[in-house]
Amino acid sequence: MINKIYLNQDAIRGIKKELDTKKFVMLDEFFNKNFYSSLNKEISNGKFSKREIFDRYSFFETSNKKFENFFIAPQFVEFLEEILGTKIKTINFSARKFQHGNYTLLHDSEKSDGKIEFIFFMTNSWDEKFGGSVFYPGKREPLIVNPMKNRFFIFKGKSRKFVKYVNNLAGKKNFILIGGKINAPR
């Protein structure tokens, strides 16, 4: 399922080192083509319903939990455990679709829960000028993760995040953001 370029021991050591030093790592072309295609089919067939609280967020979410099976496969969990150097207890998932007019905002009442989290993007084509980038505000510069087909991103920091407003340049295009919060000892 995972692209084999990420599975040899040298690659895993490199990813682990990067994660330990930078607190994040971004892996493109993460799953192999067949697996991505199956996952995309499963997600795309699910019904997405609008979730909106105007001063907090606006996006679509699926209640179809079948996609979670793809992410609790032994190979994926073992990969995570190797790069994180820890055993994983559970993962809390969400699958959200963003299109023109969608966003999430930082909110005073919301604090970082300090959990390690990952993001996986699914989209046919996306341009950062459409918005939709995930921002982790920092003391100086924010960490920005742009949606890209088959991009996997894992974050060990403690910052909160927001998804930038998707503007009308996106037209009818959208992306799906699969989020995972990992319950594991640090």
Binding site: I53, F54, D55, G101, Y103, T104, F135, Y165, N167, L169
Partner: protein
């Protein structure tokens, strides 16, 4: 001058033909000479000048003085709020894809928000000021849309209920205004 008052979703006053048209044109012309810088966060993307009460431009400073002296008294009467005299006063420019997402404006000592429009935009342009009705201090529904009209000013009280936004500019149009708060 045409004055409209609203109490829902929160206390608002809209004044059309606010200034003599020649004065409005002068202010607009001078405002465009100011430097606008991109401001961006989770909540907004637009361009803004520095606080113009200290501008070298006399016409803009005169407009600030008018708001500070004469206009503020009327605002105090209408809103029934005692104001401190402090006014924030900056030029704001929204261009294509710029926006301001829903929020209530509550910060520090802000009491009344104002927007003096120096552009007119239509229904398909975007850029309208959107007001939300709220329940338990959570915005639940779009209640009103105010389309920018040149030389009109809109003021509303800042409170736990004053949820509003500026919708994204959809066309290649510029939405100029002078905005700020009476404290």
């Amino acid at each position: 001058m045409n004055i409209k008052k609203f109490s829902k979703p929160f206390k608002t006053i809209l004044i059309e033909n606010f200034l003599d048209i020649k004065d409005a044109m002068k202010i607009f012309s001078e405002l465009k000479k100011e430097k606008f810088e991109l401001k961006e966060s989770d909540l907004f993307k637009f361009k803004q000048t520095k606080d113009l009460q200290f501008s070298k431009n006399k016409i803009l400073r005169n407009f600030y003085s008018f708001l500070e002296k004469d206009f503020q008294k009327n605002a105090e009467t209408f809103f029934g709020k005692k104001l401190s005299g402090k006014i924030d006063f900056a030029g704001t420019l929204y261009e294509k894809t710029d926006y301001l997402l829903p929020h209530d404006d509550r910060l520090e000592s802000r009491k009344i928000a104002y927007i003096y429009y120096l552009s007119s935009l239509g229904k398909n342009d975007g850029g309208e000021l959107v007001f939300y009705s709220s329940k338990n201090n959570i915005p639940i529904k779009i209640s009103k849309r105010n389309f920018p009209k040149f030389n009109s000013i809109i003021l509303f009280e800042v409170s736990k209920k004053s949820f509003h936004s500026v919708s994204e500019i959809l066309k290649n149009k510029k939405r100029y205004s002078i905005t700020g708060w009476l404290h």
